[in-house]
Symmetry: C2
Subunit: 149 residues, 2 copies
């Protein structure tokens, strides 16, 4: 229950390894790499278009469409990461600066929020739920892309 005890535990290290592997794959738009981190029965709340995606097949179609919408070098930068893990249940949350370099070479990026929930399955730790979002302005209902931590 003490955070310091958990910070040294091997489960927390294993969960961080999954997050790092996911981040490296996401930067390369590597769908196989990204989905090697996910459980087949993942339930995803993504930042755009739908309330939720149920199952890896539906979520992969969405990821593919997002990658096709934003081709070129992808920027993903983690901030304020917190990880908690027990023997078979874990979660992590962080701010994610994401964006891309436009055709004039200018970086277009904004901060999003990410929560990731994992379970240890027979094959190892897998993401069973993730939640990406941008907050919105209740006056305009527009997503807020100019916030910084």
């Amino acid at each position: 229950m003490n955070d310091k005890i958990h910070s040294g535990n091997p489960d927390q290290a294993a969960v961080r390894e999954v997050l790092e592997r996911w981040l490296a794959a996401a930067r390369q738009s590597d769908l196989d790499g990204i989905f090697s981190c996910y459980a087949d029965d993942i339930v995803a709340y993504d930042a755009v278009l739908a309330l939720r995606f149920v199952g890896a097949e539906a979520y992969r179609k969405h990821w593919k469409a997002c990658i096709e919408m934003c081709p070129g070098p992808v920027l993903f930068q983690m901030g304020e990461l917190k990880v908690e893990a027990s023997a078979d249940v874990a979660f992590a949350f962080y701010l994610l600066r994401c964006g891309a370099v436009d055709d004039k070479g200018v970086e277009q990026a904004s901060w999003m929020r990410v929560t990731v929930c994992l379970k240890k399955r027979a094959a190892g730790w897998r993401v069973v739920h993730e939640h990406f979002s941008a907050p919105f302005d209740p006056q305009t209902n527009k997503a807020l892309f100019d916030l910084a931590p």
Copy 2:
């Protein structure tokens, strides 16, 4: 609460009890009740205005402002709840239909997404992180309030 299946796992039952207590308090705009579910060091990603709120004091100010923005009977309805708990780390996620009854008696509501992360502390289970959001349309950047599960 729709999904009220209490499994044999006592930790999962205890986490569901916190969620039910939170829901009852949120429906009553009962700030003390809501915050009895939260850890002092909660990090919250709310649906509106800010990237994140760090600590119960900052988050309570935000909750108070939101309640003042939407006075009157509050609608909160959970759907598709999933809970996972181990001895001291747990998470839950669900869709939340939230809104209010306007001054003509008409219900104005939309579905949001919620992820809740908990730790078992000396005083019992506490929410250490929560994430509320609505997805947005990448063409208009507007939050999507007309989606239904």
